[in-house]
Subunit: 253 residues, 2 copies
């Protein structure tokens, strides 16, 4: 995985078990080509009829595969124009959960401070989420988000070194305020899916000091696992912020 020279023949060999439906194998094949960085966000896929010819399938079959890729948010269609690789915008999601607004009610964007970057042995938690072995090397990035001159959100971010060594070798200025664009720019890695788990707990003594909370205050802890287009885990992080500032909206059916 990661950026590599794609073997053009690879693209025409279908991914997945041969008993899977054709449209499903086409889905997996295109998803893998995206995960491999063959196309970058904003790039156009070949036209549906071209893809159908390349893979030797009917237009309706490749169309069904593309439909599901659109449903899953990996690509988007533009009528009359083409089908394009999407760039999901997860990086600011956390910010939307927390209520920081100026007196006029506008959302305030936080500053981002990378506090440390180091290689540490993976804890059981981190290893399980990143599909590594306990004790394997992982990159740990500690970051604080500030609003109004005060740290409001504390983040511990864990990355597998194989794909993300560039995060250690660049300056914070080169990395910039948003991590997911940096993963894409510096490591050729695109985040396509995330899973999050939200819970409310007592604040730890360290966090209380940094967030300027009293020891009996509560924090919201958000654990996030980020995955690439093929569903392989890329990043695991845990973020903590003051519980009282939290708000979240859902639709279910």
């Amino acid at each position: 995985m990661g950026i590599r020279e794609s073997n053009p023949q690879d693209a025409l060999v279908l991914e997945g078990d041969e008993h899977l439906p054709l449209y499903r194998r086409l889905y997996l094949t295109v998803a893998k080509r995206i995960a491999n960085g063959e196309w970058r966000p904003g790039d156009a896929l070949p036209a549906e009829l071209d893809l159908a010819k390349q893979y030797g399938v009917a237009p309706g079959t490749i169309r069904k595969a593309i439909d599901e890729l659109v449903d899953d948010g990996l690509i988007e269609r533009r009528h009359g124009s083409g089908t394009f690789i999407r760039r999901p915008n997860f990086d600011n999601m956390m910010v939307r959960f927390f209520l920081f607004r100026d007196p006029a009610g506008n959302m305030i964007m936080p500053e981002s401070h990378i506090v440390s970057r180091e290689i540490v042995p993976a804890s059981a938690d981190v290893a399980a989420n990143l599909k590594m072995r306990e004790g394997d090397d992982v990159i740990k990035v500690t970051r604080h988000r500030h609003w109004e001159g005060q740290a409001r959100l504390l983040e511990d971010i864990f990355l597998p070194p194989a794909r993300f060594s560039a995060i250690l070798s660049h300056t914070p200025e080169e990395i910039g305020p948003l991590l997911y664009p940096a993963y894409e720019r510096l490591c050729g890695q695109l985040v396509c899916f995330i899973e999050e788990e939200i819970s409310i707990t007592d604040v730890s003594p360290d966090d209380a000091g940094l967030l300027k909370l009293s020891s009996d205050d509560l924090v919201v802890a958000i654990e996030r696992l980020a995955k690439d287009a093929s569903g392989h885990p890329m990043e695991w992080r845990i973020s903590r912020g003051e519980a009282r500032r939290f708000r979240y909206k859902i639709n279910v059916s």
Copy 2:
């Protein structure tokens, strides 16, 4: 809306604006037939080929409409058997958010106590959500959920009287512990979609007393709007529970 004798001819007149795609109008038509109670949860829809003949469309067209109804959770397919009206299970969702487990780690089901049922004028909030006018009559049901002999979840539930008068005229025993099945059984109303908004606030003095929390504790407040198969609002409720017990999981793409 509500239960009514369906005019058989109605079913063959397509819903929606005539410039909408055919599959979309078929979606709306079937959704409306479900909202009208023409089929009950568990009932089978006519076979795809039958529906195609009835509406005079190609099999692929009705299939696309059914695909989207499945995506939206209104119906489910069973290969080789048929397509059936689904009964979404939202009523216990709230319970899944809160961590109440026995020593073995199993989920504990709460008892349900209906504390009061009355007609009140709609507040601005309630009116906006239920698409009524402020001051209009609404049914207000107050319910407490108990774990281990203690109220843990407080719920204020608001219903438009037009569809839900049966909730006032039946005994709590007839209503039973779960409201959505009661809406279906007593009022012919099926909840198909919900929107929820989660926030964390200080506990009100009344709630603190009922939940046995101290006045500086925090509660999670969950506001929920429930809708029928056609997307019309049916019920609005606000539930409060101890913040520390809260846990929630999400997938995004």
